[in-house]
Amino acid sequence: MPEQLIFAMEVTLNGLMAGVLYALVALGFVLIYKASGIFNYAQGVMALFAAMTLVGIMQGQVPFAHLINAVFGGHITHFGWNVPGVVAIGLTVAVMVLLAWLVQVLVMKHLVGQEPIILFMATIGLAYFLEGVADLMWGSEIKTLDVGLPQGINLWIDETTYNIFGYGFFIDNLDIVATVIAALLVAGLVCFAQYTKQGRAMRAVADDHQAALSVGISLNFIWVLVWSVAGFVALVAGIVWGTKSGVQFSLSLIALKALPVLMLGGFTSIPGAIVGGLIIGVGEKLFEFAIGPLVGGATENWFAYVLALIFLVFRPQGLFGEKIIERV
């Protein structure tokens, strides 16, 4: 088998793994968009915020330590205890639920019925606000996150592929774990949406706000629920990405990476988010592999957007999106 082809296969596999990670972020968007029609730009910052909170709790950092020191003097930084990962994750989920409630009560409740673009702008404002708060709370330096996910080269794949092709593929264990987590998460979300009372209520709200209201579903509660679930998804994405590349500001930029995924898959479709993520992941890795060296590299920065743009011109609602019907 020619060497180039084998490399291309490895790149494709890695692209699939990266695509799963994109899909993970995109899921959070789809959930909120479906249920409330809000395009939540803050999803990436929520992932950053969740990851920072998790690290902060695990290491026993004092929230706002830097600020307190600056205002009152003193040098407090840590409580001096370490919290085990599982407990810290539980606490972080609680924080994200609290955040969801605050967002609903303080922001979204007052914006019901506004135009979608206004809501979108509000979430951009929310993103800035959260980013500032996260930095103030936990400090802006790069942190390492380790909740015990395996990392490093997967030896079994390396060996097997070496025996078959005479060349060992480099696949990160973390990517495999991330794929499993994403699959579990999607399965869990689907079960939640299909088989629980709250999940059904959520889908009803997504279908038609007024009809849902008239059968006695509390919109307020559902929205808090949706934001909480999105917060949970953000936490999962934050953990995986944070373990992969450290908890830092660039984590919030994965939101931008998730946008072309959404456009490809359609804003309203969970399978779309996953398929879109895989297409984008594989596409950008293969493009970089094949064309990148010819044009100076770093094509990953824009390839996804341009692909999505070209795609949209031919199919404006995305792969799996609902058909856009317009009436005057």
């Binding site: 395009f39 830097h66 600020l67 600056a70 205002v71 922001v107 007052h110 914006l111 506004q114 979608p116 673009i117 206004i118 979108f120 702008m121 509000a122 951009i124 404002g125 929310l126 993103a127 800035y128 606000f129 959260l130 980013e131 500032g132 708060v133 930095d135 103030l136 802006s140 931008l256 946008l259 072309p260 959404l262 456009m263 804003f267 044009v295 100076g296 590299g297 770093a298 094509t299 920065n301 824009w302 957007y305 341009v306 999505a308 743009l309 949209l312 011109v313 404006p316 317009e326 009436r327 005057v328």
Partner: protein, 358 residues
């Protein structure tokens, strides 16, 4: 009492269609122009020019440009940073290729080139709308920044990959480079701002502007009553690109002098200009000014209060700035979705009845 149309008789069509129908507004406008052109250049120093006035003037141009696209034509764009970069690099290539030509020409040409690029990236708007379009313009943002980073022809093969503005003049007065004086750069930008504001104001109340607004309010209905969406959308992209290109050229050549494209024209720039438009008021030229002034002044004020008065570390103040900008955007959207311009309108309405409201 003094702010009303009563007694101000219009006796010709020209009178009737003037920009400021109320006499007080007209005089206020002349006073502002007189102060801006006649007084400030004599008082200006380097700090005021570089910290406040130049960024205000340049961002105002960018905000007017974006406001035409988002506020008047309803096409949300997140590619402002990339389009400003086109203006900057076009200006740079022109400056280095034709050193003897006046800077005025260069900046205008840079605007024209940006208009062309903007139209090109505006083409998908004929098929896709709303959020999808907003995300599609991100393609422009990332692709353009990548292009200027990676293709050496754009930065004249300089080793650092940066572009540096060489010393150029107009009418014998140095405008760019380290030897430019504050008043000259200020006046240079001010001329462009006045020009852009005038053009924008008159375009938006004419045929073109009305067709933009029809497209914004409901594109299908607009099409049915005979507005050509192709023409309306693409002219909006072109005019917007022209203004944004001018602002990008000024931002690079006059204000910064040396630019690294990812840093100066990144995605944050796109959001910054978008925030100016939202906080100022969508669909209002005055709002563009107000939004630009607000977001230029806010960091300066915060720095003066936080760092100089309270003695906090700069990084905390920077984080607070994020929190405050974010919170302000939300508060504005909740309290006044139409921005500062709406507050201004309400104030004027009150003033018309003052002191005897009914």
């Amino acid at each position: 009492m003094f702010y009303r149309e009563a007694g101000d008789f219009k006796v010709s069509y020209v009178d009737d269609s003037q920009t400021f129908p109320i006499k007080f507004d007209r005089y206020r406008y002349y006073v502002v122009l007189a102060v801006a052109f006649g007084l400030i250049p004599f008082l200006i120093n380097d700090y005021w020019a570089n910290a406040i006035l130049l960024p205000f003037l340049i961002y105002s141009i960018a905000a007017i440009g974006l406001n035409i696209l988002v506020g008047y034509c309803g096409q949300v764009s997140l590619g402002t940073g990339g389009f400003m970069a086109v203006g900057a690099y076009a200006c740079y290539k022109l400056m280095t290729a034709f050193p003897e030509v006046s800077m005025f020409i260069h900046v205008l040409l840079a605007g024209g080139i940006t208009a062309g690029v903007c139209v090109l990236f505006g083409l998908p708007s004929l098929r896709i709308k709303g959020f999808y379009l907003a995300v599609a313009t991100l393609a422009a943002q990332f692709f353009l920044v990548w292009l200027f980073n990676r293709v050496p022809w754009f930065y004249n093969y300089s080793a650092s990959g940066q572009i540096n503005a060489p010393e150029r003049d107009t009418f014998g007065i140095v405008i760019t480079g380290p030897n430019a004086s504050a008043w000259a750069t200020y006046l240079f930008c001010l001329v462009f701002l006045a020009f852009c504001a005038l053009v924008a104001r008159n375009l938006t109340r004419g045929t073109v502007g009305r067709s933009w607004m029809a497209i914004r309010d409901m594109d299908i209905a607009a099409e049915i009553i005979g507005v050509n969406p192709l023409k309306a959308k693409l002219t909006a992209f072109a005019v917007s690109g022209f203004f944004i290109g001018i602002s990008g050229a000024l931002f690079f050549a006059v204000y910064l002098g040396a630019v690294e494209v990812g840093e100066a024209f990144g995605i944050t720039k796109s959001f910054l200009v978008l925030f100016m438009v939202i906080i100022g008021g969508l669909g209002s030229i005055f709002g563009s000014f107000a939004g630009a002034a607000f977001l230029v002044l806010l960091p300066v004020v915060l720095k003066v209060v936080g760092v100089d008065l309270l003695g906090w570390p700069t990084d905390i103040v920077a984080h607070f700035q994020l929190v405050i900008v974010g919170a302000l955007i939300i508060v504005f959207l909740i309290a006044e979705p139409h921005g500062i311009a709406q507050l201004w309108r309400v104030a004027k309405e009150k003033l018309r009845l003052w002191p005897f409201p009914h």
